[in-house]
Symmetry: C2
């Protein structure tokens, strides 16, 4: 087994977020479930954008946010995901490489993205309510073109951990890409991680996700709502009991209640980091995963991995947008955790 070139190689949707304030009445008028992610088609994307307030744009995408966090933490991270050859695609590419991650997925070419939403870079219209919660509406655009041809098997073989975004199961061609990536990783003796993405996503793909977590997934990330949805229970302890013995490690986040890490018979409960004011929860789970993975790939104990996750999540929710605003998450984590990190 050759030495890994990357700590984490992630595959996910390459998205630019458009983030605006909205009140609860706006969500009601547009039939949105607060805190969830809805897939929208281009007509709805156009209508919704028209009715939204002014926004800011930031590169996003769940696994891509995790990769950006990992890079800011000093980890060697790579991302695979599809943008179009358009302005938003170039912004996405710039942001993820500028923070230090490897990203060379070919953009979708052709009549891309300028005059219509067809084939343009994916965007997620995010409404942030006064309570800091985000409600997401994703138009997948170019993401739907991700396929097996975009998977460089050597890249996935060269990463300690392959990290897969659950949202990818919403795209038929992406599944083949995931299978190819995960197979390359496992063949090289690497670990595979899965994030369940959101509870509605779990609803759409429950059987597949249960199969995966009891099969080739070594490391599972989920929040409370997702794990409850996965096992169709309202009892958190029952959900924990169900996940036990499946993935080698499961890290379950519970917002302000912190997180629970399961590993074999171990159950580790870690408190959340205090946050002065929750401005926007977008990216909280993604950055928890970044901190956790950074800890894991640099040999930290599981409790410290979770603490690192909470420090990163606390930074993200204290400002608008899903990418770190501090110059270096590594410095922030060192400062918060003392010499341990």
């Amino acid at each position: 087994m050759t030495a890994p070139r990357y700590d984490v190689v992630a595959i996910g949707n390459a998205i630019v977020d458009v983030i605006a304030h909205a009140d609860d009445a706006f969500l009601g008028r547009h039939d949105m479930h607060k805190g969830g992610m809805m897939l929208i088609d281009k007509d709805r994307a156009a209508v919704l954008y028209e009715s939204m307030g002014p926004g800011i744009e930031s590169s996003g995408g769940s696994a891509a946010n995790t990769v950006a966090g990992l890079a800011s933490l000093g980890a060697r991270a790579a991302f695979v995901g599809k943008v179009a050859d358009d302005q938003l695609g170039r912004i996405f590419r710039h942001d993820i490489t500028a923070i230090g991650a490897h990203y060379d997925t070919a953009p979708l070419n052709g009549q891309a993205g300028n005059d219509a939403l067809d084939k343009s870079t994916a965007r997620c219209l995010i409404l942030v309510t006064p309570d800091g919660q985000r409600t997401m509406n994703t138009y997948l655009g170019a993401c739907t073109a991700l396929g097996p041809d975009d998977i460089d098997e050597a890249l996935f073989a060269s990463g300690l951990i392959t990290y897969i975004e659950g949202y990818l199961w919403d795209e038929p061609r992406a599944k083949d890409a995931i299978v190819k990536a995960a197979a390359a990783a496992r063949e090289a003796g690497r670990k595979v991680a899965l994030t369940l993405s959101d509870s509605f996503c779990v609803d759409r793909h429950r059987e597949t996700f249960i199969e995966l977590t009891s099969g080739f997934v070594n490391l599972l990330f989920a929040n409370e709502a997702e794990i409850l949805s996965l096992y169709q229970t309202e009892d958190f302890d029952e959900a924990l009991a169900r996940v036990k013995g499946h993935a080698d490690i499961a890290a379950i986040t519970r917002s302000e209640k912190g997180s629970v890490v399961l590993a074999g018979d171990e159950v580790i409960t870690v408190p959340a980091e205090p946050v002065e004011k929750v401005v926007d929860t977008t990216g909280a789970g993604d950055l928890y995963a970044a901190g956790f993975l950074r800890g894991l790939t640099s040999g930290h104990a599981l409790a410290d991995c979770a603490r690192m996750g909470h420090v990163c999540a606390a930074e993200i929710i204290s400002h608008f947008g899903p990418r770190p605003e501090v110059a270096s998450l590594a410095d922030l984590v060192s400062e918060r955790m003392g010499r341990a990190a």
Copy 2:
């Protein structure tokens, strides 16, 4: 004289800002003057973007920020400026109309914006240093196509105040547009306001600006550096003496020292609003102008106009980006100023 449809009709560059953190060494390596605005060509824009860290995108442009602020303050405001028919242009259009301003300048058509920077919507690469100061690098793109054909004389005749951005003098064709707009405004008995934009801009157009302020400009906005540059003096009192008797009203901002308003023989000094932490000074002057103009067009005393300007500026510098993040600047001003506003 018919009743005005707008409180303020503004003309300026239509720009999308790309805002990233940088340290002082970065500014040094790229020969930037901290706090200033440099015009850059497309090659430098490409090189600079490549070397910048990850950013967030926000609609910007000096006069456009003022218009957004005015709309958020409840004023009737309109903007004239040129974008391309591309993704960033559509973002600019969305943001300024979504906040409640009128904007219908035709976008630059043709082979616009997708594959190259040529003719694409203007962008300003903004580096924010740890002290909260912003250093701007503007690629004007589609803005350079603004011309007299974009001026609807009836629009300018219908606004109480025509507000002109000094930066426009950097574009030969825009001058003809300004002349046409200002003539229409004056013919209808309206007032004309000018902002000097920045001290380097004043350097480039000193004679024109002196001529304008002693001619058709009724209301002058400037900061300390700009007014010193205008009269080529290092003595603030001397600069004040020079501007006196020119424009009917001059409002000069002095960062944390507040502002000085001159009107005839009156000299009014107004303190700045306290700010907990200066995050990013981008848009401070633009939002001061918004608050001031809102006060003026709704019949407030000059001291209150300046106070309203400082409240708006304080909101802008307490977060990343040049557009208000509060749901309503009008509510913020009411709260800070009591029933007076």
